[in-house]
Amino acid sequence: MNELTISHLNFSYGNQKVLKELSIDIRKGKFYSILGPNGSGKTTILRHIQKLLLPQSGKVLLGQDEVRLLKVRDIAKKIATVPQETHIAVDFSVLDFVLAGRAPHLRRFENETPVDYKKANEAMLATNTWQYAHKSVRELSGGELQRVVVARAMVQEPELFLLDEPVSHLDLRHQILILDTVMSYCRRQESTVISVLHDINLAITYSDELIFMKKGRVYAKGKPEEIITEPILKEVYETECIILKNPIDGRPYVIPKINTRSEKE
């Protein structure tokens, strides 16, 4: 079953065409990573999925429904996002912040019920942030805060997670921690993940399928083992790469060819 269907999507900022006749099928319960050079349209796709941008032509379907016609609140019941960075100006406690993930499920006059608190607690346990529950979100480190943001997204109970470079500014431990948490949660709940990752090897490790973008089109899509090839990488990134086998999971491992010596001379 398709979680999300993008068909013949076109979009341009002014004269600059960002997406050209883009069509992607996203299947339920899988982990996808969109890869590609800067400016290839990755973030623009995510913004269309959230209805932050409206298609100039073509369609984005969430399940059976056209995203364009859905209410913001109804989208938020099905889609949660984890952005690269979150800035919070007010001293909310971690518990309140995570609890806010229930907002799309609550009516305007409704208060959070014990069930909502239970869900928040579970999410904080799963992300190992429970011990900060009564701390202010402003006192957390970047990695801790991102774990809290993931907890909030989990509390939203979405069918679909959108991760927009969620680990780009985090240390190694947190990169793995965040992606592990999201992956195991989604396996359990059969939720779908679409992530934009810059680290190609992280993407290979965590994804069921990769989508390579180039100049507003899908250049290649498929399982990492099938589409990580030297010609495709060269074409997409305009960089020579060597492909090794990752000794841990047997998946491909990409190393860009850098001639350090000639650069120094």
């Binding site: 209410k71 913001v72 996002t81 100006a89 001293d91 806010a100």
Partner: protein
Amino acid sequence: MMLLLLLSCMVFATTMGAADISMTDSLRILLNEVPYVGPFFSQGHIEGKFRVIVLSIRLPRILLSVLVGTGLSVVGASFQGLFKNPMADPYIMGVSSGAALGAAMGITIFAGGILSVQFMAFLGALLAVILVFHIAKAGHKVPVLPLILAGVAISAMSSAAISMLMIFHRDQADQIIFWTMGSMASAAWRDLIYVGPLILLSVILISLHKRDLNLMISGEDAAYSLGVDVEKVKKRLLLISCFTIAVVVSVSGVVGFVGLIVPHGVRMVLGGDHRVLLPFSALAGGLFMLLSDTLARTLLAPMEIPVGAVTALFGAPYFILILYRSKKNGGFL
């Protein structure tokens, strides 16, 4: 707690003024008017004129100042959340002056019934807030300094236009002056009957957005992905706020700084969570306005200081203090 403090201050304020009425007497007078328990409080020895002073002069004025303070503070708090900017305030942003200009135009150019003056005040407020917002906007943010500058510019323009109107319509100048200088002196039950419910309604409507405002101050994109239709909420809150300001200005004229310092003080003590901030701003605003107005009418009694001068006396130094602080840490608070 806070509500109790406000109520007791209101009772206390009834005793303040040129005529010397004791605490117990005014309490008796007030309680006598409460249904069911009233008859237990005899009015035997209290002079009739005191009853009139408390019930038809002081009480409406006290209620009015509480309402005005509440309205201004809640609007201030919502503006600050909306623009993610601690300096947002109906007075500084020129909204109040816009409302006053609209009202002045309603009095002079479109002279008609009372409704047209109120309606013009609303239009003036709305126009001012839209202008200021668009002048100050840089991308998705509304930075502090441009916001204040734009507000000052719009205020200055409105004041200039009001002065011109006064010159051309000398016979109505007195009426206009009332709008430009805040005062509660004209308080009467007939105003309260329609202003009270309107202000309370606006306060409730704004408070219904507490969760949206909480989500919006931690980033509009984040709020959006949690189901807040950010643009819609902004427009709705701006509309309600302008309406509130127009109503407030229509009974009290332009009173400055209340919407700035009250929410700010509450935020400093209790934090920026709008679930706490909005109701406490409402109460503290009422209290602050009540104290200011009581000072205004008693300090130099029987002469009166314009209440706008009193609030500015507190507000302006506080404003400078916040500006100085935000320059140092560049934060929201």
